[in-house]
C-alpha cells in the first residue's frame, strides 16, 4: 500500500503525540508522521510505524517541557522553526492533532500552522478541548488558543473531550480518556486509509485539500456497524446521534460541505451506499455539497465504517499552484496569546490582506517620500497592523 508522500500528520505536545501514536497504530497503513514536543519523554521514537520526533525548545527547556505555559510553547517552536523544514519538504497538506489546555500544544500549534501556511501548505487541525472538570484555567487557556487556531488553520476541527466522553459511554476516567483517544484516532486513521487505498470511488488528497482550504471550521463524525442486516440505516442513525456532529440546537449542525468516506469489505452493496448517502444527505441542508469515496478491503468483511467531515464553509477551490504572496507578512503579534486575543482577528480568505482603512495606496503615509525601511523584503514603513490584516475598530 502506498504512503502518501505529500501529506504529513503532525502531533503537537504531549496529548498530540499520544493521539499521533494511536492513529498510526490504528491506521494499518504507512503514515508520514511527526511528533513535536518540548518534553523529551513524549519522544515517539522512529520505529515500525515510521513516526519521527522533533524536540523543540531544547536549548531553552532542556527537554523538560514548558511547565504548562503556552507562551513558552510558542517560544520553543519559534526557536526551532528551521528544524521543521526537512519534514515539510514537498508536503502539500498537513493534518495537525493537538490537545489544548497546557503549554506546548496551545503555544506551538498556532505557530506551526502559521509556518506551514506561509509555505503554501494546506492545514487541517484537530484540537481537543479539556474536560470541564480539569478546571477553568485549563479551559480558558484552551479557549484563548482556539481563536489563534481558527486564524491559522485552513480548517479547524475542535473536539470537546466532554462530548467524546459522552460518546464513549463510559464513566471510568481511564476508560473515558482512552475511549476519547480511540474515537478520535479511529476517525482520523480511517480518513488516512481512505486516502491511501485504491477504491471504487477514490478519495484523493487533492479532493480533501480542496474542501479543507475553504472549510474554516468543521466537525468530525465516525460510525461503524458489523451487523448482518440494515447496516446503512444504523450508521446513519449513529451519525445523527454522534455528539461531535451536534449543533447548538436539535440534531446535527448544518454544514456547507460534506466529505464522506466509506470503507467496507467485499460484501458492500451498491444499495447500501445509496441508503447511506441518502440518509446522510437528509441530515443536512439540500444545498450542502457532498463528496464521497469508497474503499473495499477484505479485512473489513462483515462491517462498514464511515467517517464524515462536515465543513462549515465551502468555496470553489483555488487553482493548483496558487501562491499566497502575502503569506510572508501573515504573522499575528505575540499578544494574540494573551487574554485579549480575540481583539486581533486575521481575515479569512488567506492571501488577501484586507483593511477597512482608506488611505493611500501603499500605506506608507508620512514616510511616502522618505527612504523606505525594507527588511527581508517587507516595507516596514507600512503600518504593521495593515500588513497583518488586523481590522481596526475606530
Amino acid at each position: 500500500m502506498k504512503m502518501i508522500s505529500d501529506l504529513l500528520l503532525i502531533g503537537v505536545g504531549g496529548g498530540g503525540c499520544t493521539l499521533l501514536r494511536s492513529i498510526t497504530e490504528k491506521a494499518n497503513v504507512a503514515i508520514k508522521a511527526l511528533g513535536v514536543d518540548t518534553d523529551a519523554a513524549s519522544n515517539c521514537e522512529s520505529g515500525d510505524n515510521g513516526v519521527d520526533f522533533l524536540l523543540i525548545g531544547g536549548a531553552r527547556f532542556s527537554g523538560h517541557g514548558t511547565g504548562g505555559d503556552a507562551v513558552n510553547g510558542r517560544l520553543a517552536v519559534q526557536d526551532d522553526f528551521k528544524n521543521l523544514d526537512p519534514f515539510l519538504e514537498n508536503i502539500r497538506m498537513v493534518v495537525v492533532v493537538t490537545s489544548l489546555g497546557a503549554g506546548t500544544g496551545g503555544g506551538s500549534t498556532p505557530e506551526i500552522l502559521k509556518y506551514c501556511h506561509e509555505r503554501g501548505i494546506t492545514t487541517l487541525c484537530f484540537a481537543t478541548q479539556p474536560f470541564e472538570f480539569e478546571g477553568p484555567s485549563r479551559c480558558e487557556a484552551a479557549q484563548r488558543v482556539m481563536s489563534l487556531l481558527e486564524d491559522n488553520a485552513d480548517t479547524l476541527v475542535t473536539i470537546p473531550l466532554d462530548d467524546l466522553h459522552a460518546q464513549s459511554g463510559s464513566d471510568n476516567l481511564q476508560l473515558s480518556k482512552e475511549g476519547a483517544v480511540e474515537t478520535l484516532s479511529a476517525g482520523i486513521s480511517l480518513m488516512w486509509r481512505m486516502l491511501c487505498m485504491p477504491g471504487y470511488i477514490q478519495l484523493d488528497v487533492e479532493r480533501l485539500r480542496s474542501m479543507v482550504v475553504s472549510g474554516k471550521t468543521g466537525r468530525l463524525g465516525f460510525a461503524l456497524c458489523a451487523d448482518e442486516m440494515d447496516r446503512a440505516p444504523q450508521i446513519v442513525e449513529q451519525l445523527e446521534d454522534f455528539k461531535l456532529l451536534q449543533g447548538a440546537g436539535e440534531g446535527v449542525a448544518p454544514a456547507e460541505s460534506l466529505l464522506v468516506g466509506i470503507i467496507a469489505g467485499d460484501d458492500l452493496l451498491l444499495s447500501e451506499i445509496a441508503v447511506l448517502m441518502n440518509g446522510i444527505r437528509e441530515l443536512y441542508p439540500n444545498s450542502s455539497r457532498v463528496e464521497m469515496g469508497t474503499v473495499q478491503d477484505a479485512l473489513f468483511n462483515g462491517r462498514i465504517e464511515v467517517v464524515l467531515f462536515a465543513f462549515d464553509n465551502w468555496a470553489k477551490p483555488v487553482a493548483a499552484g496558487y501562491v499566497n504572496v502575502a503569506a510572508r507578512l501573515d504573522q499575528p503579534p505575540v499578544a494574540d496569546i494573551l487574554p485579549a486575543a480575540s481583539s486581533v482577528r486575521k481575515i479569512k480568505g488567506k492571501g488577501k490582506v484586507k483593511s477597512k482603512l482608506s488611505f493611500g495606496p501603499t500605506g506608507r503615509g508620512k514616510f511616502q517620500n522618505s527612504e523606505p525601511t525594507i527588511y527581508d523584503g517587507v516595507d516596514l514603513d507600512v503600518p504593521a497592523y495593515i500588513r497583518y490584516g488586523i481590522n481596526i475598530e475606530k
Partner: protein
C-alpha cells in the same frame, strides 16, 4: 589634573540634545548643562532639511551653554540610521618567532591589521571593535600573550556608515562654527552609559528605542557580539496610530504617550479614549483596544526581527543579564513585559549609571546615548591627556 569639559551632541529624529559634562572631585563625570530642542529636519535619523536641523542644534547649544556657563566650540556627535551596519571580519598573523611564542608586538601588529579593514569608498568606518583571539584552532582566548602557536587570529566588528550621510551630520555642526571631535554610533554610546561590566560579561542585549531608529547591540564575555540598526522607531508607532484612526500626527503622538501600551490589557481595552476638541479638530473617541492592538503589532514585530537575528547568530541563549531598553521608547507602557515575552528573559529600562546628573531629568533612559558620549569623552581625556584631542581613538577603545 583639571580636565576640560566635554560637550556632546545628538541630533535625534524627535529632538536634538546638547550636553556638557565635567569631572567632579571624585573623578566621576557629572553633567553640568543639558539643552534640548524639538527636531524637525530629521527623519529615521537622517537629515532631510539641513537648515531646520541646524536651527535645532543652535537652540539646544545655547540652552546647554547657559546652563553649564561655558562656551561650546567642539563636540562629540552621535550617528544613527539604517545605513549603519556592523560587519564581522577576521585577521590572521603567522607567528614568526622561532619559539612560536606570542609576544605583545605580535598582538599589536594583528590589531593594526584589524584597524585597516577593506572599505567600500562610499562608506566610512566609525568603530573597529575587537573580539577574542584564536591561537591555531583554539577559540575564545582572552589574552594570548605567552602562548605558543603557529597562527594568531582575531575577530572584529567594523561599524560603518554611508560617508555622505555622516559628512552631512558633521556639516550641520561645522556650519555653526563648532569642531567635530569624533562621530560615534549611538548604540555604542548608549552601552557606555547604561551597562555594567558584569552585564557585558554575562551577556546582555541593549535595545535603544529611538524615535526614528532602533539599535540593538549584543554583548557577551565583555565583547560586542552583534550590532543591528533598523530605521523603525517611535515615529512609526505614531504614524500607525495616525493612519489607523485618521487623526493628525500630533494627536497620535499625544495618544501614544498618554494612553499607549505595547501589550493589550483586557480591562483597559474595554473603554474608549476621548480626544477633546481643538481648533480644526472635532472631539471624538477612539477604541482603546484598537490603540493597543496597533502598538502591539508594531512593537512585537520589531522585537521579533531582533530576536530572529540573534537566533540566526546563536546569540539568543547568551543573554544571561537579560535585555536592557533605552531611548524614549523604553517608557512605552508594557514594553518591558513584551520584550520579556519575546526574548524569554528578564528586561529592564537602562538609565545612565556611569555618568551623574541625569537622574533628575524626565525619562533618563532617553539620555543614554548622550550620556555615553560624555562618558567616552571623559575616558578618552583621561587616556590621552587634556590637550591631545580624540581623533581615531574612538574607533579602537571599545572591545579591548
Amino acid at each position: 589634573m583639571k580636565r576640560d569639559p566635554v560637550a556632546a551632541l545628538e541630533i535625534g529624529t524627535s529632538r536634538t540634545v546638547v550636553c556638557v559634562g565635567e569631572p567632579d572631585d571624585n573623578g566621576r563625570m557629572r553633567v553640568t548643562g543639558v539643552g534640548t530642542y524639538p527636531t524637525t529636519g530629521v527623519r529615521k535619523g537622517q537629515i532631510i532639511d539641513f537648515k531646520q536641523a541646524s536651527n535645532g542644534v543652535e537652540s539646544a547649544r545655547i540652552e546647554a551653554e547657559d546652563k553649564a556657563e561655558t562656551s561650546i566650540w567642539q563636540a562629540l556627535i552621535s550617528a544613527t540610521g539604517g545605513h549603519i551596519e556592523g560587519k564581522s571580519y577576521d585577521q590572521v598573523l603567522p607567528i614568526e618567532a622561532s619559539d612560536k611564542i606570542v609576544c605583545k608586538a605580535d598582538m599589536s601588529e594583528l590589531d593594526e591589521l584589524l584597524s585597516m579593514p577593506p572599505m567600500d569608498p562610499e562608506k566610512v568606518l566609525l568603530h573597529s571593535l575587537y573580539q577574542s583571539y584564536s591561537v591555531d584552532d583554539q577559540y575564545g582566548i582572552a589574552n594570548p600573550e605567552g602562548m605558543k602557536c603557529n597562527m594568531l587570529k582575531r575577530s572584529g566588528i567594523n561599524i560603518q556608515g554611508q560617508k555622505n550621510r555622516i559628512d552631512n551630520l558633521k556639516r550641520v555642526v561645522s556650519d555653526l562654527k563648532m569642531d567635530v571631535i569624533d562621530v560615534a554610533f549611538d548604540g555604542v554610546s548608549a552601552s557606555l552609559s547604561v551597562l555594567t561590566a558584569a552585564q557585558k560579561r554575562d551577556g546582555v542585549l541593549l535595545i535603544d528605542l529611538g524615535a526614528g531608529t532602533t539599535t540593538a547591540m549584543t554583548f557577551y564575555g565583555q565583547l560586542i557580539s552583534d550590532i543591528f540598526c533598523l530605521g523603525v522607531g517611535g515615529d512609526h508607532i505614531t504614524h500607525d496610530i495616525a493612519t489607523g484612526f485618521n487623526i493628525p500626527v500630533m494627536r497620535a503622538e499625544e495618544v501614544k504617550c498618554n494612553h499607549g501600551s505595547a501589550l493589550v490589557n483586557i480591562e483597559e481595552a474595554k473603554g474608549r479614549i476621548e480626544l477633546p476638541e481643538e481648533v480644526g479638530f472635532d472631539n471624538r473617541t477612539i477604541s482603546a483596544k484598537s490603540l493597543q492592538v496597533i502598538i502591539n503589532a508594531r512593537m512585537d514585530e520589531l522585537f521579533k526581527i531582533i530576536r530572529s537575528r540573534l537566533a540566526d547568530r546563536e546569540l539568543l541563549y547568551q543573554l544571561g543579564a537579560g535585555v536592557v531598553l533605552t531611548g524614549g521608547g523604553a517608557y512605552l507602557r508594557g514594553v518591558t513585559e513584551l520584550a520579556e515575552r519575546v526574548f524569554g528573559t528578564s528586561c529592564r529600562i537602562g538609565v545612565p549609571i556611569n555618568v551623574d546628573g541625569f537622574e533628575n531629568l524626565d525619562k533618563p533612559a532617553s539620555f543614554a546615548t548622550i550620556a555615553g558620549l560624555i562618558k567616552y569623552g571623559f575616558d578618552a581625556n583621561n587616556l590621552l591627556g587634556a590637550k591631545s584631542g580624540f581623533g581615531s581613538i574612538f574607533k579602537n577603545i571599545f572591545g579591548r
